[in-house]
Amino acid sequence: MVAATFRLRRLKPAATSAVLCWHKSRCNLGASGTSHLENLYQVSRLFLSLQSDIALALRKSLTFIVEVLNFDRTAVFFYDADSNTLSLQQILEQRGVLEGETVYSLNRDTNVPPVKCLIENMDCLVLPEPEYCICVPLKLHGEIMGVLSADNALGHRSISDEQTGKLRDYAGEIAVGLWNARLYAREQEEIKKLLAFSEITQAIISSMNLERILRTVMHALITQIGFDRARLYMVDKEAKVLKGRYSAMIGQGLKELDESVPLKSGISQLVDMVLENKQEYFDGGHIYRTLLAGRDTVGIVQADNIFSRQQITRTDLKTLGTFANLASVAIFNAQLFEEVQRLSITDGLTGLYVYRYFSTRLSEEITRARRFGGSVTMILFDVDHFKEINDRHGHPFGDKVLKEVSTQVKKCIREVDSPARYGGDEFAIILPGASCDMARRIAERIQTAISSPGIKSDSVIEKITISIGIAAFPEDADTDKELIKKADTALYAAKRLGRARIVTWSEDLE
């Protein structure tokens, strides 16, 4: 559409080859005698050789245009489609070059020639006095990148047809140069992003450690996507809360997030997203993205640019989505792995460690004690008359007895101790750093806890007792096998002495 108030100049290649130097030349281009085509070629070469520095290429082009075409002033504006604004990039006039400070909204109230040129969709806008200016859109392949403008306002000189034609040609070259430079910049940026992405992906998917995965994701949100702040919560189904795990902030690093939000509707966006199984929510300032393991929501990430006030772009949202999907797969795998690990080292009935794992643990503890000093004590016990109990009440009751024994053991030991189901009705406990006296006190607690209430079978309460043997490294044994043997000897002695008692190994027992 052409506005009636403005003169529209049609594209017409310039016929002359004269070049005018306006004042002291600041570059060697456009020497007297060169043709218009040669000058255009020079401009296109500028962008080719300065592909990674668009600002410098523009500056040299503007200087060239002023000197060759004898304008008082020239400027370049860039168009931003997201905000629909035209921003001044560089303006060259008598006093020098100024980097852009002005941003114009593209609407009909903005009475500025470069804006008018784009709004009215003109190929070229030429204004007579008092502006004496010409504006040409910088566009290629239907995409508008900005506007090149020039004026003779300081000298109050009209713009000639020759100036118009040539400026339009230069605008074409600059448009091509800009297009290629942007492609190049985008390509470089993509390559950098891909490399960084690949690194992060490797780190995430190669780890089966859940905490490490979560920390890597948080780190990526700040350093790769570039959010100011991110917070990660995981769903605790048993406690019915969203538990804070990590928070990350630029300049502050990664910290543990000590926060707990009840999983009740209406409390916060975070919780609602989990309860409603929404994948993503963006309110313009904050982004929320859930983490899935299979079909279950296992966590949620919240991120924002609260400090820098930078806009969260569509690219940021997409990248966050990709990381969240990656993280979800990794979390799922890590949880599966943890479960498999747990199953492979624990006894299905009692939940205590299996013999194979117990052996490994014992060996590790003794190696550690040998290296750093300290002791390792072992408790070995079994259920008295277990075979008779099974025969009397049946195997299900026997299982119940074993489960109850395990439950009581877990309640009586320390956190560092490792309880195991050693055999059918035999149990073992590794107590790192404990003396025989301490082990004895723990053994007494276990004995009392098991024997006092008894276990009900139909209308009968069966009293359960255990016989216990204790031995210690390095006092009683030099190796793990020897330790087990000594504890077994002590246990056997407890049986011989009447059962339902505790015996600590000593030389006499041999």
């Binding site: 006039e93 006093r95 020098g96 070059v97 100024l98 980097e99 852009g100 400070e101 002005t102 941003v103 903005t110 700040i222 350093t223 570039g226 100011d228 702040r229 630029i250 300049g251 502050q252 609260i306 400090f307 820098s308 006030r309 930078q310």
Partner: protein
Amino acid sequence: MDTKTVRLWTMPNAGFASESAISREIFAFRKLHPDIEILAEIVPWLKAWDRLMVAIKKQRGPDVIQIGNTWTTTCNFLGGLRSFAGVDMELEKRSFLLQVLSTCRHNDRLCAVPWFMDIQVVYWRKDIFRKVGLSESIFDTWESFRSGCHKLRKAGYIPIGIAGLKDPCLIQYIAPWIWSAGGNFLDTTDGRARASFADANALKGLDFWFSLLAEEAIDPADIELDRGTISERFFMRDKHAIHICGTWPLSDPSLSEATRFSRHFDVSLLPQGPAGRFVFIGGSNLAITSFSDVTQEAMLVLEHLLSSESLIRYTRAVGMIPPTIPEQRLWAIQVGETGEKVISFLRSGRSLPAHSLWGSMEMVLVEHIAKILSYIRLGTYTRTRMEEEMSIASREVNELLVSIA
């Protein structure tokens, strides 16, 4: 000889002359240190914050940066600046004006050094005032100021020439009105900071200023223009009677020659409000980034730019005031009588809060002040609208403050 490169970011402190001003210092530095190259980039103010944030997040970018003194503590909080631990003693000897040195400290550590100061000065046309029958006394009180603007408008002049939406100094224009009304930007209760620019006193000052602009004190179309254009019109034409801007006109040779400066212009402070009279002290600091890998060389660049000779030369070129007291005296002598008067204004000087997140808070405030100016531009300003914008801004700032509590 191995050449090391130091990347320097400065802002357009001198408009079109910014490049030549910094080039002179780089040239002088190179003579002393031929093995160190300085690659300077002039970053427009409107893009500076974003570019700084990107550099800090990616931990790559320039080695030495000019940084607005209201942004310094925030950039340090976000991990962008290197501490000057151990250098304090030398700098204390330099007699920096305390208000500007305080903007360089964060968590009791020095993270930047003052480079230059800028204060918002009221310039007024003696000739126009004479014609209208006014004198400097219109700047005595709010009431006399309002009445003076009214007389100027009636006589056919635009009372105040002030840049609007395109000016990065929006906070500097409103700060003195908040302070002189007894208000503040941040208050601290029980050790916790909260936004107070939407409290009664602050709003009183803001409404006085904005309603004055809305009613008659400016040409609404000026709000669309940039600082340079407004200043040019004030000093070169006979349209505007009062202009508020920095100290650069005092150093601009083209102005003093072309406009017979001292004959037609004088300077003053903004009028006295219920709680006093204040002048906004701004300026820029120099800092070394935390991700620089040429810190020794960067330090040499810093030391050069802060040397007495360079400070005097650069501040005269860009029209700012040196941050050190001895150099300020020299500056005043060079400028003349008006310069002495401007230096005396520093006694009423006040700066914005040196809070960790002030830079981020400033972005919030600028966004909402720009909206208020839009209302003025469109002729739809009301006190209610202004209070609404300040209230929303206050909520956003408090959200920021809570985020680091």
